[in-house]
Symmetry: C2
Subunit: 200 residues, 2 copies
DNA sequence: TTTTTAAGGAACTGATTGGTTCCTAAATGG
DNA sequence: CCATTTAGGAACCAATCAGTTCCTTAAAAA
């Protein structure tokens, strides 16, 4: 779907750009709340082009979701592999989520959370997609925690449970941020969660 | 609107029952995902009766939300005021949320979270309603934490931050539960969160 | 019984929904 | 230059949407 077969008129728009534009529309209005005219306006494409490129509305959401998840995972992975102590790296990644859960960004919320809350109960494929995202973030933190435990920075304990706990805290911040919280309050939540790594 | 003025034909259905029926519909399908026919089927009422009693779809959602929040707050308040140690009471209330975030109940999720995620960014009144719910749960936990600190059960520390932390953990569980988690995993999250009260 | 009030239901509105199907224009490979 | 293939857009589809209006029916108060 991505590579041009070489024959016939080539696509005049970028699939990734279109998916990203659609992502922003779904992000702001959810799935049911997004109409085809919304997507047309957001991408600047026509109905025909959109359907030819992505199939239908649901498949377009999946493409947008994959883009969103890949970028989110990359951002967290980058922060967790930063030089310095492991705890500093973990805190930095949590502070990013705190920032994303505050003020305007917080009000906008997280696309994965929005789709999980809106659609997971009715759409097993989307539920699995969201669960996969949560698991992957968890594994990123598992890696950091294991490193921290190895060098004595982080208390012993089930690394899966500790990582899952951080993921839970992150998703909680994203929900609380929907009603517009101050970043200072979110940072306090991060500091509370960091204590878990001290003593477990 | 609740009390019958005494003149004219009295209402043949119970407002609370109708609001509760509507609550279940919104709960399962969200706001945008709920159509008027859905509400008619769910309540067993007609369009005319529904609009005469509640005004419009949004006001019906508010009535349903108020019912949901009142019951949720009462359940948590009850568990927190149970005899025994304060920590046992807090744990019991968190275990209730863990149960509500597991398996089928988890997949169904929380109406307040659903509405907050779907509508808060676009509807300030609903955002405030959800924020109010989060604040009230937080204050319930503040009361318990202060009691626990007074008798030495719970570590010293900012009771508002500690309570907010628990609320954040609760909302996180409800998000994770949307993709269908095991209750044992949720209980492990509760135990992790309880550690916060030990040492802060 | 009469008057007053509102419940309940049916019919209808204009707008919009997601989705399909054309047709024309254009860019490629041969 | 020509044949092939697809992009892009316009017109159109049946279905459904939230919401309104009107009318009949029924219950209470006087």
């Amino acid at each position: 779907m991505t590579a041009h077969p070489g024959l016939g008129r080539p696509r005049e728009f970028d699939l990734d750009v279109a998916a990203r534009d659609a992502m922003n529309v779904f992000w702001d209005h959810g799935y049911e709340g997004t109409s085809l005219p919304d997507l047309i306006e957001g991408t600047g494409l026509s109905r025909g082009s959109l359907y030819k490129a992505f199939g239908d509305k649901k498949k377009l959401l999946l493409a947008a979701l994959d883009l969103y998840m890949a970028e989110g995972l990359r951002a967290t992975a980058d922060l967790l592999s930063q030089p310095g102590t492991v705890k500093e790296a973990i805190r930095a990644s949590l502070l990013r989520y705190a920032h994303l859960s505050s003020d305007e960004a917080g009000r906008r919320g997280c696309l994965v959370v929005a789709i999980a809350v809106e659609m997971a109960a009715h759409d097993p494929a989307l539920a699995e997609r969201a669960a996969q995202m949560f698991r992957r973030i968890q594994q990123l933190y598992v890696g950091a925690i294991v490193r921290g435990q190895a060098n004595g920075e982080i208390a012993e304990g089930d690394e899966q449970v500790m990582a899952r706990f951080l993921v839970c805290q992150i998703q909680g911040m994203r929900v609380l941020g929907k009603t517009g919280g101050l970043e200072a309050d979110m940072v306090a939540l991060v500091d509370s969660a960091m204590l878990m790594l001290e003593r477990n």
